[in-house]
Point group: none
Chain length 203, copies 4
């Protein structure tokens, strides 16, 4: 767009910072934290290697900021959509749809967002764990609301949140890892998972 040049003038530093974050997203996702080279990120962002260190103090910090940025983008989109959902089934559908859509758009990021293990160090790990725990709590609250509205049984909503997020993760990994699935299959899989979540396995 023509306005890109304009943005360069309006907000040059943020613009460059964003370019680096986006490059980092791509490279870290392709290579993982340890195999990604700062130089490669700089190249992808079309800036000098030193410039990366003008905006971030270290590779680790860049990684963390990148995760947080992506995570927030995902959560914002999710919250906005969830606001429009009324029943628990609609909520689950929204949760799965938004997640799958996000994964399709950021296939590269998925491994990192889905996988919850320490990519770099104690500090990074701690932050990621907190984000994960937040997710569990948010879904838990969502379920509490549904219990109050008598939409679902008075189950242990903490346990239920884990069942839902776990299902979501493995369904998502399916999509990310095996690209040969048609969108139809994907929708069907989501539908079936939600059906099981709502009605259980038993006859």
């Amino acid at each position: 767009m023509g306005c890109l040049t304009m943005n360069d003038h309006v907000n040059p530093p943020e613009n460059k910072r964003l370019r680096i974050i986006n490059a980092a997203t791509a490279v870290f996702s392709r290579k993982g934290f340890h195999n990604a080279k700062v130089e490669e990120i700089a190249e992808e962002a079309d800036v000098g290697k030193g410039t990366v260190y003008e905006y971030f103090n270290s590779k680790k910090e860049l990684f963390l900021e990148m995760i947080l940025y992506t995570h927030d983008k995902y959560q914002d989109r999710l919250k906005q959509k969830l606001f429009e959902a009324n029943t628990i089934e609609e909520m689950l559908k929204t949760l799965f749809e938004v997640t799958m859509q996000f994964l399709n758009q950021h296939k590269e990021m998925a491994l990192i967002l889905l996988a919850d293990h320490p990519p770099a160090d104690e500090e990074t790990h701690r932050v990621l764990m907190e984000k994960e725990q937040q997710k569990v709590e948010e879904v838990s609250k969502m379920l509490d609301g549904a219990v109050d509205r008598k939409e679902i049984r008075p189950v242990n909503t903490d346990a239920a949140a884990r069942v839902i997020l776990g299902s979501l993760a493995l369904t998502g990994s399916q999509i990310v890892f095996f690209e040969n699935k048609s969108e139809l299959d994907c929708k069907q899989l989501t539908q079936d998972v939600i059906d099981i979540l709502l009605h259980g396995l038993e006859a």
Copy 2:
């Protein structure tokens, strides 16, 4: 001890190979793939650094073999226990119990087994994906049996397998990451999860 020396004589090579695998399990689990040093593994195995390369061609190969070995040990124990289970509920209970027990014993390994993204390279990633897919298929088969026995509804067993394994993973990560849970809480959480899996969320 004297018997250690005896073992050295009875089966020196396999014994040493196993010592290295076990050391690798410990060190990789403590440090992760990239932060683990071959030298540290050698020390832990009480062999020379060069010896590691007598049994494994590279750090990557050692990592992969170690994962496979641990995975097999887990699956063997699981299969043996599942053999004794008759109903689907018993099976799920066994699946969760064996997994949690394993995680408690190999807390260190958990992050790597739970996390499903490439710790090293394409090849390793592929092998891990295959193992994961196998797991989905095995649970899927188990469910097919349950459907045949009319124990559970004729659901999409592929979807159901993902729901179960996903729930298992997130419940497990809870146990691994937050050590302050009592065993009681842990059992209760497992119980609640299985209840939701069997009977669903809906009222």
Copy 3:
């Protein structure tokens, strides 16, 4: 203050150049040549980093100019004071006093002025050596005068200059490195050194 602004108008470029030299003196003294950062000097001088390069072609050049400037300031003060001294003893006292006073005021600079080895490169080294040689020659001349006046024996004044300047350097380093000396001790040490220089060690 208002007069600072006035100076800015009267002699802006020289003023800024001087501000940079003074900042360089402070920073180089605190950190040494290699650990001092041009950016830090710019900050201390309250100018932009680029501005430093308007007045000096490189970090090395700035360092050299700074040394020369400080050295000249020291020599000017020394010459002025030496003019008032009549006997060789008074001259030595003046030499020691002015030097010690200067060291106390520029403790930071001392290490660099005392140390006579290349802080940066060949060129800088050469210039510093020349300055040092000049010092030897000046003291030598001062001694020639004293010999002519029959104040001191007809010794090799070149050798004598080295004895004096060497004693000065080590006495000075004492003051710079060990700050816990009282001014009394300092004066006494100076007195004792001069006594030895004049009357020798022998009984």
Copy 4:
């Protein structure tokens, strides 16, 4: 010599460690601490870059160990020779001769041994200061003995030690920096300096 190969067998590690120390002496002396590259030291020692780190934890540590090693070598030779000296004049002659001889053989090292300022960091600086202080104290003791034997006046021996060591340093730097001096000039300069030290400047 043929025995070099033999030494390789007798004491390989110490041999290599020594080769690195010697290479470090040469390179640090040529370039100074900050301009010396570890790789260059490794090349000079004819070992791989990594090998340097097998024997020393860091560039700084290597530098310090090199200084200590050279310093000790110098002091050992000095002590041994001083043992043979009886009068204070002989002692001073020995001190100057051994130092000058050492400087001629290790011209490269001289700048660092003579100059007493921090080449790298706080720790290194502290160690070098201690060594310097030791030297002052040793000379001081030597003088105390001479005072006891009524060889010299009861001067402040601390001050006298500084006069001597200072003269030594500046005389030495003369020799190191200006290579064009004949050995005769050198001996004469030394002789003149000692004369002044013993008999003073005054008529």
